[in-house]
Symmetry: C3
Subunit: 138 residues, 3 copies
């Protein structure tokens, strides 16, 4: 298993980790197969989306904050840790991605970046990866 | 990697692609293992749900449109591409599915169809697939 | 393929199935690889989240019920089966998880439990699993 660590800087933040994942894929030597990318945290998540135009992830954070506002803004949330909004956002988006690999490259679409979604930062977050399939020289 | 293309016809649309995925599974010859089904687009997604009663996906589209209305309906969205609602919907639902295969068949439940969720159509959408495990004659 | 059955007791319920999944992993003998955990139902789902503090999943259920209230509470839902809320919740959360395995253990974070999300119970729900990779004695 390979992994890397991301230091987030805000409570809610969308961090493009595509370069780190691509570097791990190159380290693995995988030519054809798939990668499982996993976030072992209950208040963070992984998604694919556009990161080129920063307005897209800003709008996504704004939408999530409005949909699941922080405690205790009239939510009636009972969690004494006061981070139920973060747990809900994490479950809505999900903890992992399975990505396809062809000719040593991810098959991501042009507008798909791999985004670590921080909902309870700033924290250090780990991303774990396994690369499965045929390895070999390019 | 196998793939197929779907031509969607509306901005928001739920298209049952189970027959196309089953045909790809048959082409692969996989008897026992799993398939990774992937949508390389940032304003479309893949889910499993009931498609037999059309009211279910109609209600799902209606719910998503109310939860994330199109710009600029009092959302304050900043994306100049005016499709932040589509990006948000895609991230909520997710870009891929990993499905189990037994005896050459998907292990889907009786009421589970594979649904391409279009949120920024009409467009041509590609679905990519890899089938992993034991192959052989039936 | 391995599987187990869960009897749920409420319409909306979050059931910690981590012990059952860990038992299946032990049965498989997998040392290094991954598991695909799949829920073959269109009104239930699987997620990872904290289950130690019961307030977290209570808040999650409360949030989901407020976001997608049962028919016909002013939703205009058309599904005559009157369970569109359950289908929507299931699609938002998703039908499966791919989990990494190292040294015979899941790599889950400290606060991640595997949670079966019931949205149309009480029912009997099946969880299917495949474990892929290197097997062997500890």
């Amino acid at each position: 298993m390979d992994s890397f660590v991301v230091q987030t800087t805000q409570r809610n933040e969308m961090v493009d980790v595509t370069p780190e994942v691509r570097a791990a894929l190159a380290r693995s030597g995988l030519r054809d197969g798939f990668g499982v990318i996993f976030c072992p945290h209950s208040t963070a998540a992984l998604t694919l989306n556009e990161h080129f135009d920063p307005a897209v992830v800003q709008d996504m954070v704004a939408w999530l904050n409005r949909a699941a506002p922080p405690v205790p803004v009239e939510t009636g949330f009972q969690d004494h840790g006061a981070n139920s909004d973060a747990h809900i956002k994490a479950t809505l988006i999900g903890p992992g991605l399975t990505l396809l690999v062809e000719d040593g490259n991810l098959t991501l679409g042009r507008w798909q970046s791999i985004i670590l979604c921080e909902f309870n930062g700033p924290r250090q977050r780990t991303i774990q990866m396994k690369w499965v399939g045929q390895r070999g020289p390019a």
